[in-house]
């Protein structure tokens, strides 16, 4: 574990994990002396009845200040404003956000407005805008993948001015992250697979990108180990609580890892596909993961090789020679994608063209690949990728990912080779 020349690591979130961790909610609220929490969620979560355990946990003593449950798929300023209004009206003193990434981002936005009691998010954009601790925020993730309960960035779109506002601040980290296996019990197999692979990508990229550091590495390895041991179980038997808890912990660990070590090209391209074709984030990640690792092999081949251990276990790592390991890792990830495809009955794609929406038509047509490539160049994650990407590189990766064949590594324009392991082309 080489100590980097410089790194920063921070995760100020109090993690509470367990099969019925939610029962500790009153205790948590008391510790941040809040008596009137507001519950924010989205229709899907509410519909699936995931709010009941939260209400039961609050019990008689603590009366929820109100439940707001129509947060749209990706959070926007308008929703944040009227939740804040409701929050002030009911004189709540803390927020419990139950749901996926967008619910959490919305909750963070609301927390900014109510704590700084203003109602214009614009003057908090950018670095160092927030100076003080905000009101308490308790995050209860219902998908084991985005890891947004551990990240310090909130992304809120302003649809009128069609711009995405970024709020990177340590004060946005939730006070508590409650990992309760009951929250993901009802997650369907396909969604479990996407979100788990999303977490896997977070961990792999965190292990191989530029601001890699000892703590992100060990949390990433732990996350990959937990996922590779529990993903099949979680997909095949949704009821297995132990697997659910493991996946929830894995996603939190992956969140902890990538929120410090940042992610690279896979996320850059993934975001662009999501933006243009509205494909769920996890789906793009699982497809692009092997291609990202292949593209950077000449820079971080030895690191990819080391990932073989958490993925396939000690025996596989031991039997392979150092040069073979990176390719074996990538092969293992592709196998995992195909196994998941079988287990989810074809819903889990192994390449871009297999991504289909609910009623079966292709979501990522071939001709749209060039726009995706152009958009991905401007995604912030590109900075942290070990190797530069220009338009042609991105397009080449997208083409191969569309087809589903491995990258032709001779075509990659290689910068200074830093991989300690000579991977044969």
């Amino acid at each position: 574990m080489q100590i980097p020349g410089y790194y920063e690591f921070c995760n100020k979130v109090k993690t509470v994990s367990g099969h019925n961790a939610l029962d500790k909610l009153p205790e948590m609220l008391a510790s941040v002396n809040s008596v009137k929490p507001m519950i924010i969620t989205d229709r899907g979560v509410n519909g699936a009845g995931l709010i009941e355990p939260v209400k039961k946990a609050l019990g008689a003593k603590v009366k929820a200040g109100g439940i707001y449950d129509d947060v749209p798929a990706d959070s926007d300023v308008k929703t944040v404003k009227d939740i804040a209004a409701k929050y002030r009206a009911a004189k709540c003193d803390s927020i419990i956000a139950v749901g996926g990434g967008s619910v959490l981002d919305t909750a963070k936005g609301v927390n900014i407005l109510v704590s700084e009691n203003s109602d214009n998010l614009m003057n908090f954009v950018g670095f160092g805008a927030l100076k003080r601790r905000l009101k308490p925020l308790i995050a209860v993730p219902t998908t084991s993948g985005t890891g947004s309960e551990m990240t310090l960035v909130a992304v809120i779109a302003d649809h009128e001015r069609d711009v995405k506002m970024l709020f990177p601040s340590l004060f946005l980290l939730p006070d508590f992250a409650v990992l309760d296996s009951r929250m993901t019990k009802t997650l369907p197999a396909a969604l479990t697979a996407f979100t788990a692979m999303d977490a896997m990508t977070h961990a792999c990229e965190a292990y191989t990108c530029l601001s890699k550091n000892p703590l992100s590495d060990s949390t990433a390895v732990m996350a990959i180990k937990l996922i590779s041991e529990n993903i099949m179980q979680g997909v095949k038997k949704p009821g297995d609580m132990q697997a659910r808890l493991a996946l929830a912990n894995a996603s939190a660990l992956a969140g902890m890892s990538f929120s410090n070590s940042m992610v690279g090209m896979i996320h850059a391209i993934g975001h662009s596909i999501g933006a243009i074709c509205h494909v769920p984030h996890g789906v793009c990640m699982s497809v692009l993961l092997p291609y990202g690792l292949e593209y950077n092999l000449h820079k971080t081949g030895h690191l990819t090789g080391e990932l073989l251990f958490p993925l396939k276990g000690a025996e596989a790592y031991n039997s392979a020679k150092a040069e073979e390991r990176p390719l074996l890792t990538i092969k293992a990830i592709r196998e995992m994608n195909s196994d998941l495809r079988k287990a989810t009955g074809g819903k889990h794609p192994t390449c871009l063209k297999e991504i289909v929406d609910r009623d079966g038509n292709m979501m990522v047509p071939r001709e749209v690949l060039s726009d995706i490539a152009l958009l991905s160049l401007n995604d912030g994650a590109m900075v942290y990728n070990p190797e530069d990407l220009d338009y042609k590189d991105a397009l080449m990766v997208l083409e191969k990912a569309w087809e589903g064949e491995p990258l032709d590594r001779k075509k990659i324009k290689k910068g200074k080779k830093t991989s300690l392991v000579k991977v044969k082309d």
Partner: protein
């Protein structure tokens, strides 16, 4: 325990470093303006940016800075260091003078610097990425290969930047930078 045995300590100044960074910023600023006329790729990059693009790279808390942006008729100009009277769309702050020294003695490339959290950027992300690409190209022009290969992840090979284009470009950029 008498209080005045423990006096207050004012922070000193780092004048030489500030001067060095100021000079480097001035050179890079003018070089960007020169490159925007000389190099095709840089021209395209600027083309894609919005018309009122105005970038201000400066060192906290009150260190040297440089402003590059598009003036009224869309030409890219180096606009000195004083942000007054100009509407900044992309504000890149280097956290401290030592961080700026690391960047401008090329011990840390722009990407590594932002990876090490030396920069605090506010403004939309696509502009930042564009500016970083522009900066890489300008550095290839300004500096000999050995230094730039540290400052950039991938030194543009023969295929992307023909030697003729590089050397001619370098001459033109130097000429334009140092002629007023």
């Amino acid at each position: 325990m008498n209080i005045n045995k423990y006096p207050e300590i004012k922070s000193g100044g780092k004048l030489i470093k500030k001067i060095y960074v100021a000079v480097m910023l001035w050179i890079v600023g003018r070089a960007i303006q020169a490159a925007s006329r000389v190099d095709r790729e840089v021209k395209e990059e600027f083309g894609r940016l919005s018309d009122d693009f105005m970038m201000h790279l400066h060192v906290l808390p009150s260190g040297p800075g440089m402003i590059v942006g598009k003036d009224k008729n869309g030409k890219v100009k180096y606009m000195g260091w004083n942000p007054k009277g100009k509407k900044i769309t992309l504000d890149m702050k280097v956290k401290n003078i030592e961080g700026a020294m690391l960047m401008f003695t090329f011990q840390e490339s722009t990407c590594v610097a932002s990876a090490n959290n030396r920069l605090a950027v506010s403004g939309n992300v696509p502009d930042t990425m564009a500016f970083i690409r522009i900066l890489n190209i300008v550095e290839t022009y300004l500096l000999p290969k050995i230094i730039t290969s540290f400052a950039v992840k991938r030194y543009p090979k023969w295929s992307q930047m023909s030697p003729m284009r590089k050397y001619a470009g370098r001459v033109l950029v130097y000429v334009r930078t140092f002629t007023f």
